[in-house]
């Protein structure tokens, strides 16, 4: 691994540690409203200023990162696993199962997700703690967001199933399980990893959009997604550049992930 990649790993690890230990680094509780200091510019007391309710932005960013960095990858992992199981298994077995898998994937892709999520949220109880609602939100995203990845996984597995080296292995009597574990899965792995990392920012942003409909992380809990909502106020961005902090941190973390992973892929 190059020095640059080591530096990226170190930086990413630092971001994770800081986010995980948000309660140690945050200057104030994330929900505390300093009502006399609304929209305060950065000072020693408020390093990133305060928001429209007087809450310390840096504290909210740290706690928001913690929630998003833990739960978005968890949801992405769930959806990638589902994609691998549904898309991969159907395509690997082939025949009717492959066609059936295709039908299910197409059905999932054609569903109006927004309305489905609204319906699901309507069925859930209202009086639940904010943390529970966060877990529910990301679990929903993970459970429902696997179809696009599954289509890609299925196409890859289908190609592999018909590839010459797999046919040769099968002809030479290689058992199905060994074929799957030794020949197919290693070739699907980069696809799964890519799908996982594509899903992470996607889920973070989807959570932000769902927040607009009351389906995301609820107040007063911060998340990267609901912090990004402040960028809607584009009129204020020029005068208050510190509002870019959530976006810059998101881009930075995602870039670090990509940088580290692309290096891994090239190496492999």
């Amino acid at each position: 691994m190059s020095a640059a990649r080591w530096a990226a790993v170190a930086l990413l690890a630092a971001v994770f540690l800081i986010a995980l230990a948000a309660n140690l680094f945050a200057p104030a509780p994330y929900a505390k409203q300093f009502r006399q200091d609304l929209n305060h510019p950065p000072t020693q007391q408020y390093p990133l200023g305060t928001d429209e309710l007087g809450r310390d932005r840096l504290s909210r960013l740290l706690y928001g990162m913690r929630i998003s960095l833990l739960l978005a990858p968890a949801a992405a992992l769930l959806s990638t696993l589902l994609a691998a199981i549904v898309g991969g298994a159907g395509a690997y077995i082939g025949g009717v199962w492959d066609r059936l898998t295709n039908v299910v994937i197409n059905l999932f892709l054609s569903l109006p997700w927004l309305f489905l999520l609204l319906t699901v949220r309507a069925l859930l109880p209202l009086d639940v703690p904010a943390l529970t609602s966060v877990v529910i939100t990301f679990a929903l995203l993970g459970t429902l967001g696997w179809a696009a990845s599954a289509r890609i996984v299925a196409a890859t597995v289908r190609d592999l199933r018909n590839s010459e080296f797999v046919l040769q292995a099968r002809a030479s009597g290689c058992p199905s399980l060994r074929l799957l574990l030794r020949h197919v899965l290693p070739n699907v792995k980069p696809i799964l990893i890519a799908q996982f990392w594509i899903s992470v920012p996607l889920f973070i942003l989807t959570e932000a959009n769902l927040g607009m409909l009351g389906l995301g992380v609820t107040e007063p809990l911060p998340s990267w997604g609901n912090l990004l909502r402040e960028l809607e106020n584009y009129g204020a961005l020029a005068h208050r550049p510190w509002l870019w902090a959530p976006l810059i941190s998101l881009v930075l973390v995602m870039s670090l992930f990509q940088f580290i992973l692309s290096g891994e892929e090239y190496a492999s």
């Binding site: 009502r35 429209e52 007087g54 009086d127 607009m212 009351g214 609820t218 107040e219």
Partner: protein, 555 residues
């Protein structure tokens, strides 16, 4: 001036100038200079926005905001509620008398009036329109209030005199005519606002884009110097649902007036052009919070007991810092509510009511009376349940979302956990009106009519919109029975003082029992381009162009 004549600045005037001798020209120039003092000329197209395509151009069927704006701008009415003075003023009816103990109104019609197609307006037209409004088969929302008077007889006595006699008296009857746009008798009940008695008629519509209203060349009103109104040639109503885009187009000069702005957008505009952004003070649009008091709701029994307790509701009211809601959530463009009626409703507001103090300790004392106690930082009821409830509001409304967060922290101070959840609007309506699966809701309302009669559908315990516990067969509480009594009392007398006394009592009971916690009265925030002349914004709808006849465009 005859119909079709053009005023100063028109092409007709240019033609006259070309044929004139120098002497005549001098007179004309002098005339032009004298005309400069006049408010306006018949030129220009005013551009404003509506949130959606009007669902109907039939003024009797207008229910949504957009249709109602078209109705206001095109409809000629017998009696108008002046949006500035809040008093009734003669329009197509020059005078009226109410007799038979309030069951009969006789209206004298203005003579010599023509529809926008040049046909004469007669008593027959007024009778046919009113009959259509009263027709139960048409289901006109504008006729609902009239139909409350039972069976009615509408008659034309002369060409310029009509009367309506109801089975029962209707209090505040005159004000109801403000909503009834008179159509030609041949179109009564199926009018489309193309032939009207108002200042404009519907000229063109492009679905999803705009509605174009053209000047009524036969409009009957004239200004002080005898010029026929309206001054504008047309009004274009752009269909635009996004309020941010509306402000951008205002800045670009595409639109000239904005009737209602959020505090955030107002602040943005104010920082750029203080003269264009105007804060008109308290409006009649309160923000309120109420608890679910429906007996058959799916909430657990212990929670129902909290929410149905007067002490609990009053404690919540005392624990919320209304001044902070106005200052923080609405950027200072709101006033803490005193009661269920905004001070902007000058006549009906009960001046004797005192504001609810912000007093968390007083709130805790009240809660103690019901057996609640603090256990560390958590408030618990007498059975040991931690006090926690959900508060829903409509997602996307930033000031309301901020209010929810502030309420959440205020109640946290007395040990109550509020799970604040912005939801999509249809889900809220479903929960509040059908499933009753909610604890508390934070919403805002617009009172389109200042008269308490218009609020019968909210305050009567049997009403479907009785927010906290709708459609009760018999009043479930003593105080709701009292409110019913006073609301009916004010509706059944014509004596304004008696009505006021009865409605004052309703306001007092509502303050004592707090079935709805009125939080703040939002200020009316509007935007006015300096190009528009004679604008005199008011807090009632339509705020900036209620006097559309007198508006004109300068350079």
């Amino acid at each position: 001036m005859k119909a079709g004549d053009r005023l100063i600045g028109s092409s007709a005037e240019v033609r006259i100038k070309r044929r004139s001798s120098p002497c005549v020209l001098l007179v004309l120039i002098a005339f032009c200079f004298s005309a400069c003092g006049r408010p306006a000329q018949t030129t220009g197209e005013l551009r404003v926005t509506i949130k959606s395509d009007p669902k109907t151009f039939n003024p009797l069927m207008a229910e949504d905001d957009s249709s109602d704006i078209v109705r206001y701008l095109t409809g000629g009415v017998l009696i108008r509620v002046n949006r500035k003075t809040q008093e009734n003023q003669p329009e197509l009816a020059t005078s009226w008398t109410i007799d038979e103990n309030g069951r009969r109104i006789t209206l004298n019609l203005r003579p010599g009036i023509k529809f926008s197609d040049g046909t004469d307006f007669t008593a027959e037209d007024a009778v046919a329109t009113l009959k259509a409004a009263l027709d139960p088969n048409l289901h006109s929302p504008k006729g609902d209030a009239f139909r409350a008077g039972g069976a009615a007889t509408v008659e034309a006595h002369r060409k310029d005199k009509i009367s309506i006699e109801f089975e029962h008296p209707i209090a505040g009857l005159e004000r109801l005519f403000d909503e009834i746009a008179i159509s030609p008798s041949r179109m009564a009940g199926k009018a489309d606002s193309s032939v009207v008695l108002g200042p404009f008629s519907v000229g063109e519509q492009k679905a999803g884009e705009y509605v174009l209203l053209r000047r009524n060349p036969y409009y009957w009103k004239r200004d002080d110097s005898g010029h026929q109104l309206p001054y504008l040639n047309a009004v274009r109503l752009y269909v635009l649902s996004n309020r941010d885009t509306e402000l951008i187009r205002f800045r670009q000069g595409d639109i000239q007036l904005i009737n209602s702005m959020s505090p955030d957008l107002y602040e943005q505009l104010h920082s750029e052009d203080a003269s264009a952004a105007r804060d008109l003070g308290p409006s009649v649009e309160p923000e309120e919070l109420w608890f679910n008091e429906v007996r058959k709701s799916p909430l657990p029994e212990y929670k129902k007991n909290w929410l149905r307790s007067r002490n609990f509701r009053r404690a919540m009211s005392m624990a919320i810092n209304r001044a902070d809601l106005a200052r923080v959530a609405l950027r200072g463009h709101a006033t803490p509510s005193i009661g269920i009626v905004s001070p902007a409703n000058r006549f009906w507001f009960n001046q004797n009511l005192q504001p609810t103090p912000y007093d968390p300790n007083g709130a805790l004392e009240l809660l103690k009376q019901d057996g609640f106690r603090k256990d560390g930082d958590v408030l618990k009821d007498k059975a040991g349940h931690p006090v926690s409830f959900s508060l829903i509001t409509n997602a996307g409304n930033k000031p309301r979302e901020r209010m929810g967060s502030l309420v959440q922290q205020d109640l946290q101070q007395i040990g109550i956990t509020v799970n604040f959840i912005p939801l999509d609007f249809p889900s809220i309506i479903e929960r509040v009106t059908r499933t009753f699966n909610y604890d508390a809701v934070l919403l805002g309302f617009t009172n389109v009519d200042l008269d308490p009669n218009a609020q019968m559908n909210v305050w009567l315990s049997s009403a479907d919109l009785h927010e906290w516990n709708p459609a009760q067969k018999i009043p479930e509480t003593q105080w709701e029975a009292e409110i019913d009594k006073y609301m009916r009392a004010q509706a059944s007398t014509l004596d304004r003082k008696q009505r006021k006394l009865a409605f004052d009592r309703v306001q007092e009971i509502a303050a004592e029992e707090s079935p709805t916690i009125h939080l703040v009265d939002k200020n009316a925030l509007v935007a006015v381009s300096p190009k528009v002349k004679n604008v005199d914004p008011v807090v009632l709808t339509p705020q900036t162009y209620w006097n559309i006849e007198y508006l004109s465009l300068g350079k």
